[in-house]
Symmetry: C2
């Protein structure tokens, strides 16, 4: 019989949203369970899953994740798995989050928010995050809305409540851009950044360079669950603008919203323009740029024709990158060569580990 | 009068080596003092500096760093600053480290090792690190020798002694490649890497592409204190091999030494070959490659002709980069666009902050 690990912390999780990202997250958790237990002294069970179209299930002893994934992927409802004493499954997220607190026995609770972005308001994700924080749960999210519209308020509320509000998966999928700055660049100021943040437009532009059609490339990405269901979010630059605002708010203490980003989408760009540039060794990318001038942070998202020696020029398909401008170390570039659901789900996993690390002075160094 | 910070940890530091890197480190510490105090609850004083050519000084109340830098940069000796009660300044590092422990009052002690690499043995740096660990001091170093020759032994000894042995500044200067993997990629396995790790050869190759002379480029780098005094360390690939071994040992649990790296330097490469490739859109770089085959990790360092779309191809002058191959997230590239003494010194600063963070469950997240 294995010895009990005295450093083990067991988390109770509740998921709001169980789409492509949410389902990949629970699969990844199960796949990495041993490493989480052994290397990070972290265990978990999922005691609630709330969806808008596949019902809601809560179970004090933990839900069977394999069944939950299978039910949703076959178009069924989670209600079949519900078993929270005599109570029926909650019908709104407010009561879902309250019941989550009731069902959990004193374990640290984490609400995993993976609903779809509403780029006009950031709701209802902001409300989900706020309600969860107020209930005393940590929150991890891949939804850009809360950080793009209300980062400072939510961060301060989380701090006051003694919980974490983390969002590594919102930008560059799971590439640890936020952790990179927070954990590995102490005393360094971020003075600006440039980046290719949206995989879908990047992929579309790569297809256009090869003489392919933008519409077909988009449909393919949507079928894979990588492109947003609403094409304008990607193609008109809204997704990139939301990521840009979130990144500027977190890294540069800015107060931007997606609407405040000067935004130009791909629709003004013809396939021949893109192909012509490519044949001359230059490449169009949807580039996000943020800088501080006279104390004010401003950002743009627009197609930019890049020279071949630009670090953003060689990103193909789903590759993303950010060039960080720093006050001390010059420019630092971080690139993810492959993006996708696993990478986004990893953003949530790494946030969970960050919460675990914040709980102890466990020596991580050796 | 400012309130006393209850979270403040004050470190006693002793420096072994006070060359370009050591002096830049103390300048950087002084420059970032407020941020270290305010954001990281970290204070410090330097109570000992040992050099091989500029004497040794110890002072219980802390040395005046401005005077120390000025003395050494004007060719003087540190003995003038020595004041450790009635005792003369120690004449060997063993007694220097012992006296450091005696002089420090119960504060956490950190030995900052910045001596020059001996690529044949890793000594005397390994002995410095070991003696410091045995004395109960944390050790931070920019010397590649200890990690390239004895990483696992020293790591285990540090763990047993309850201290840290950190070396962020050894590879990619201050770019946080080791922290990136340790702090931001939990549960992710590194299956291999490729990188441009040596600034001097990178700069030489860039000059050669422009029709310049390799010898002149090298002399220029040595004058700036960036190239190693012994040119063969850079040009024959020894520096890159030491970094490659260190990186493989830390990131991939390998047992490599610089001698075990299959190494080809630049001397077989003519200026016309390099220029010819450049004119055809390809670039020569001194590339380090490490992979695991059948459980065994092996590495090479050699000039490689790269295609234009290789993420390592566009590194100019002192830019360095590592492409990490991972088992979960595909490839991740981290690039430092500007390398130099400040970046290397920052590696030491970030190690000091890592030690501070390991001491408390201080919430770093908000």
């Amino acid at each position: 019989m294995p010895e009990r690990d005295p450093k083990l912390v067991s988390f109770d999780l509740a998921l709001i949203g169980f789409g492509n990202v949410g389902r990949r997250f629970v699969k990844l958790l199960e796949q990495q369970r041993k490493a989480l237990l052994h290397d990070h002294h972290l265990d978990y069970r999922v005691i609630g899953i709330a969806t808008s179209r596949h019902g809601t299930a809560m179970r004090r002893q933990g839900l069977d994740l394999y069944s939950a994934v299978k039910l949703v992927e076959s178009g069924g409802t989670l209600d079949a798995l519900h078993d929270a004493g005599a109570e029926p499954s909650p019908t709104d997220t407010q009561s879902f989050i309250e019941r989550f607190a009731d069902l959990s026995d004193d374990k640290p609770r984490v609400v995993v928010e993976t609903t779809t972005l509403d780029v006009a308001t950031g709701e209802p994700a902001i409300r989900h995050v706020r309600t969860a924080i107020n209930s005393g749960a940590h929150v991890i999210t891949t939804n850009k809305g809360p950080a793009a519209f209300a980062y400072h308020a939510l961060r301060d509320e989380a701090k006051a409540a003694g919980v974490s509000f983390l969002l590594e998966g919102t930008v560059l999928d799971g590439i640890p851009i936020l952790n990179l700055v927070r954990e590995t660049l102490p005393t360094v100021g971020i003075t600006g950044f440039r980046g290719v943040l949206n995989s879908t437009t990047n992929h579309i532009l790569t297809v256009m360079e090869q003489g392919g059609s933008a519409a077909e490339a988009l449909a393919e990405m949507q079928a894979q669950g990588i492109a947003e269901a609403d094409a304008s979010l990607d193609v008109e630059g809204w997704d990139a603008a939301a990521k840009t605002a979130a990144l500027a708010n977190v890294l540069m203490d800015a107060r931007l919203t997606p609407r405040a980003i000067a935004r130009t989408g791909l629709s003004g760009l013809t396939e021949s323009t893109v192909r012509e540039a490519f044949l001359h060794g230059r490449r169009f990318k949807l580039v996000a740029s943020v800088a501080r001038h006279d104390g004010t942070v401003s950002g743009t998202v627009a197609p930019v024709e890049l020279n071949a020696d630009d670090p953003l020029a060689h990103l193909d398909g789903q590759a993303n990158a950010v060039v960080l401008m720093t006050d001390l170390l010059g420019e630092i570039v971080i690139t993810q060569c492959e993006g996708g659901l696993t990478q986004t789900a990893f953003g949530l996993l790494t946030d969970l580990v960050t919460i675990r690390r914040g709980m102890s002075k466990l020596n991580q160094l050796n």
